[in-house]
């Protein structure tokens, strides 16, 4: 029979090592399962490792939205509305608030200069204001 103090110590060590193991699993898997987020200018500047999906975030560029059948083509600019555009080809569900000038996130890969979005990966940020303030700049 172990004395109670020792038993408690063992219990504590077991519990702590379980917690540490779980935490390291958490850390490890989150880094391996994560998708990197990038803006159009970052994407074009650094490029990406082929075969890995990234999340492209930015604003839908003016005059770039074309829908043909189930395929949606548009271009994304940096959040500040400046910088280079990245053309995007996307199929799947288009969220309701998708519009020119809105901030969107789409997951996919860059292929020959065009960003190919994964199906149903397009997310539109909920606009803070339904429409722009009269006379003020957008969102």
């Amino acid at each position: 029979m172990l004395d109670p103090a020792r038993k408690r110590k063992i219990r504590l060590i077991v519990a702590l090592s379980a917690a540490v193991l779980l935490a390291s699993a958490l850390v490890y898997t989150s880094f391996s399962a994560a998708t990197e987020a990038s803006s159009p200018s970052q994407l074009l500047k650094s490029g990406t490792s082929p075969g890995r999906s990234i999340e492209l975030t930015g604003k839908v560029a003016a005059g770039s939205v074309h829908k043909s059948g189930a395929t949606l083509r548009f271009a994304i600019r940096d959040r500040n509305g400046r910088g280079p555009q990245v053309p995007v080809v996307y199929t799947g569900v288009v969220p309701d608030p998708f519009r020119v000038g809105r901030e969107v996130i789409v997951t996919g890969k860059l292929k020959d200069g065009t960003f190919v979005g994964e199906r149903d990966s397009l997310v539109t940020k909920c606009p803070s204001k339904f429409q722009t303030k009269p006379g003020a700049s957008s969102t």
């Binding site: 408690r8 779980l22 958490l26 850390v27 898997t29 989150s30 880094f31 399962a33 994560a34 998708t35 990197e36 987020a37 990038s38 999340e55 975030t57 829908k67 043909s68 059948g69 189930a70 799947g92 569900v93 288009v94 969220p95 309701d96 608030p97 519009r99 901030e103 996130i105 149903d120 997310v123 539109t124 940020k125 909920c126 606009p127 803070s128 204001k129 339904f130 429409q131 722009t132 303030k133 009269p134 969102t139």
Partner: protein, 720 residues
């Protein structure tokens, strides 16, 4: 009126600062008079803030566009119900709601404790007033709800159509009530620590407030899920979005707290832990408010970058560091009275349940903040998706449900093997029978997690059922009451216990819905021409015809145009007609031509959901407007000018109608989701159980009366 509103806020800020000072001075040197004065200041603050809120609400109702907030997110054609609720769709309005709720909560708790704990209450008052001051500083200096426009527009922008859903309108105030409610136990915990009165008194005084906060927060989260399912066009109720997670974290920690304080009450253990949980739930509640409002994480909810980031982060950091330091400095006063004798005891089960709940909260925290964590560690902003969350939350949820079943059958200190056998036989047998039945008669075997979950749920329900059965039988043996009478009296005698068991039933039912609908739902995204047929989840779906409605607002959300489809859904010869639609709200943007405004504005899906106990049928449609575009351009070119205003309505109607006559193919999303309804039913059962636990019992009322008399007597004696 805007001036009066701003004045209310400024005076409110001064009042709150006075309350901080008066309460602290009263606690140190000034004596009880100052503390009473601080309490009265809090009442006055509540009065001022309710007035400010009413002024803003009145401006919304009469569409006074000289208020910048009203012009930004309401309009004269917004339906009255949504005008009323548009107030919390803006940043400034929701901060005002936060601090108004805080002043009301603070008034309620300070009134309830006015004759209790003379040492702790002054500090709790000061903490509550300080939190209020912080939010008032935000509303006065950073995001004023009473900004006015010198040239008021003739029409406002209208409420974001996505928010035009009844659930969405109750969801934010519910969440906020929950967030704010956690500040009450937090304030008393801080007071107890400062004064070293770390006994049970502060827990007893604020237990009910913690439960109120927990109930509202939980109900708010559920309404958010319902809105997501019924209004957003994607067909899910939970997406591990940053803001959803932000509301779930304080709720999970609050759940842990509500369980572990029972261990402290019964056994005098886990004192440091309880303090930490209270502090954590409040800091997480602040974080929740902050995440929605700051836009630091990419989320569909993040309402754009705002100016609040820095002061908010500073306040959260101050709360977190301050409360940690306070707990550490008072460790000597937080020693346990007893040690855990056996893990096979009620307190052992509570301890495990706490570990699981906190682990869940931690996993969610890690995943939510991973973009910031990874950016800090390796410079790349990366995020983790729902599969990552599921990998951890699913096993933890299974463990939680198992513990919810085991906990009630264990006794305090240590359960005897014999007692355990006696109480576990029936529930285990029932769970085993359900397991076999699921294997034999259903497809549950296709998803082992849901198979395990269903079995565990059966176990929980059996345990709670057995507890009720045994309680009622024991009463009947003693009192010879009829079963219904025995049941109501049993519950009435210990509302917290039996209410808690009903919450367990609710959560089990909720998990039933979650497990079934996530494992066995079928979905189809398809582009169909009129007359085409497809199949989803055993149903045959035919696109019968397109619809176009103009000026006929069936859903009451104020959309002038709605295009949709009539679908014929059939199974085994039984036909149902569903009509998903898409509402088009005009955009108030002068750069868009007049007629195009009506079509290129904000569309939202009007999902058609056929609710059912067995399964929900969910349909959404996205009409393709490409074929209408030439006509719209042409109309704008010829009749877009203001002199044709008379004909424009007719033109818009004609163009919209032409969609129904010559329809292009439309995109559909169809979902057959089994047992989703159980999520809402389970949530309601849990809320019902929480209400039972909250309802003041005879004992509480007696105690309240006694404490008032005791205080009166003490005053008389001190005077004599």
């Amino acid at each position: 009126m805007a001036t009066v509103g701003s004045a209310c806020l400024v005076v409110g800020l001064l009042t709150a600062l006075y309350a901080v000072g008066a309460a602290l001075y009263g606690a140190r040197r000034g004596g009880p008079r100052w503390v009473v004065s601080a309490r009265h200041a809090i009442y006055a603050l509540a009065g001022l803030l309710v007035t400010a809120f009413a002024i803003l609400e009145a401006a919304y109702l009469r569409s006074d566009f000289s208020f910048s907030l009203v012009a930004t997110n309401s309009s004269s054609d917004t339906p009255t119900f949504y005008k009323f609720t548009a107030i919390w769709s803006s940043q400034a309005g929701s901060l005002l709601l936060w601090v108004t709720l805080l002043s009301l909560f603070a008034s309620a708790v300070l009134r309830a404790t006015r004759n209790q704990q003379p040492e702790v209450v002054p500090y709790a008052t000061a903490v509550l007033a300080a939190i209020g001051s912080f939010f008032l500083v935000l509303t006065v200096f950073y995001a004023s709800p009473f900004d006015t426009l010198t040239n008021p527009p003739s029409e406002g922008n209208g409420l974001n159509p996505l928010l035009r859903h009844p659930a969405m309108m109750f969801h934010p105030p519910m969440l906020y009530t929950g967030y704010v409610g956690f500040s009450v136990p937090f304030a008393f915990a801080v007071g107890a620590l400062i004064t070293r009165r770390t006994g049970m008194d502060w827990i007893r005084a604020t237990r009910r407030f913690a439960l109120i906060a927990w109930t509202f927060l939980g109900f708010g989260i559920m309404l958010g899920a319902l809105w997501s399912f019924a209004e957003l066009g994607w067909g899910g109720y939970w997406g591990w979005d940053a803001v959803e997670n932000a509301s779930l974290m304080p709720w999970l920690v609050g759940t842990a707290y509500l369980h572990s304080i029972q261990v402290e009450e019964k056994r005098g253990m886990l004192r440091v832990w309880n303090m930490s949980l209270v502090m954590a739930s409040f800091v997480l509640a602040l974080l929740g408010t902050f995440l929605v409002r700051s836009g630091i994480l990419d989320s569909i909810h993040a309402f754009g970058a705002s100016t609040l980031g820095k002061p908010f982060l500073f306040f959260i950091a101050a709360c977190a560091i301050g409360s940690t330091a306070l707990v550490v400095s008072r460790l000597d006063h937080l020693r346990s009275d007893a040690r855990l004798e056996s893990i096979w005891s009620r307190e052992g089960a509570f301890l495990l349940n706490n570990v699981v709940l906190v682990a869940l909260a931690f996993v969610i925290w890690w995943g939510t903040f991973f973009p910031l964590i990874s950016e800090a560690l390796n410079g790349h902003r990366s995020s983790v998706g729902p599969p990552w969350f599921d990998r951890y939350t699913v096993p933890l949820a299974l463990a939680l449900v198992l513990l919810a079943g085991i906990g009630p059958v264990l006794t305090w200190r240590k359960v005897s093997a014999k007692a355990l056998r006696r109480t576990l036989v029936a529930p285990l047998a029932i769970a085993a029978a359900v397991f076999v039945a699921l294997l034999a008669f259903t497809e549950a075997v296709n998803s082992w997690t849901s198979l395990v979950m269903f079995t565990l749920i059966a176990f929980v329900l059996a345990v709670v059922g057995q507890e009720f059965w045994r309680g009622v039988s024991a009463r009947r043996v003693m009192t010879d009451e009829a079963p219904p009478t025995a049941l109501t009296r049993l519950v009435a005698r210990n509302r917290r216990r039996w209410g808690g068991y009903i919450v367990h039933v609710g959560i089990a039912v909720l998990f039933l819905g979650v497990a079934a609908s996530s494992a066995f739902h079928s979905q189809r995204d398809i582009r169909m021409k009129q007359g085409q047929t497809t199949a989803v989840g055993g149903y045959k779906v035919k696109y019968v015809r397109p619809t176009a409605e103009v000026g006929h607002d069936t859903s009451g959300t104020g959309a002038p145009i709605s295009l949709g489809a009539v679908l014929d859904v059939s199974k085994n010869g039984k036909h149902t007609i569903v009509r998903p639609k898409r509402n088009f709200y005009p955009v108030n943007d002068p750069s868009v031509p007049m007629i195009a405004r009506f079509f290129e504005g904000e569309p939202t899906s009007e999902v058609d959901v056929r609710w059912g106990l067995k399964r929900d049928l969910w349909f959404a449609v996205q009409p393709d407007l490409a074929s209408l575009m030439p006509a719209i351009r042409e109309a704008d070119r010829k009749f877009g000018g203001p002199k044709f205003a008379k004909y424009q309505a007719l033109l818009i109607a004609t163009i919209a109608q032409s969609y129904a006559h010559d329809p292009p193919p439309a995109n559909f999303r169809m979902i057959v989701s089994p047992m989703v309804a159980f999520i809402w039913i389970g949530g309601l059962i849990a809320v019902g159980g929480a209400l039972i636990a909250l309802w003041p019992g005879a004992e509480t009322r007696r105690r309240a009366v006694r404490s008032v008399y005791a205080a009166k007597l003490a005053r008389e004696l001190s005077r004599a």
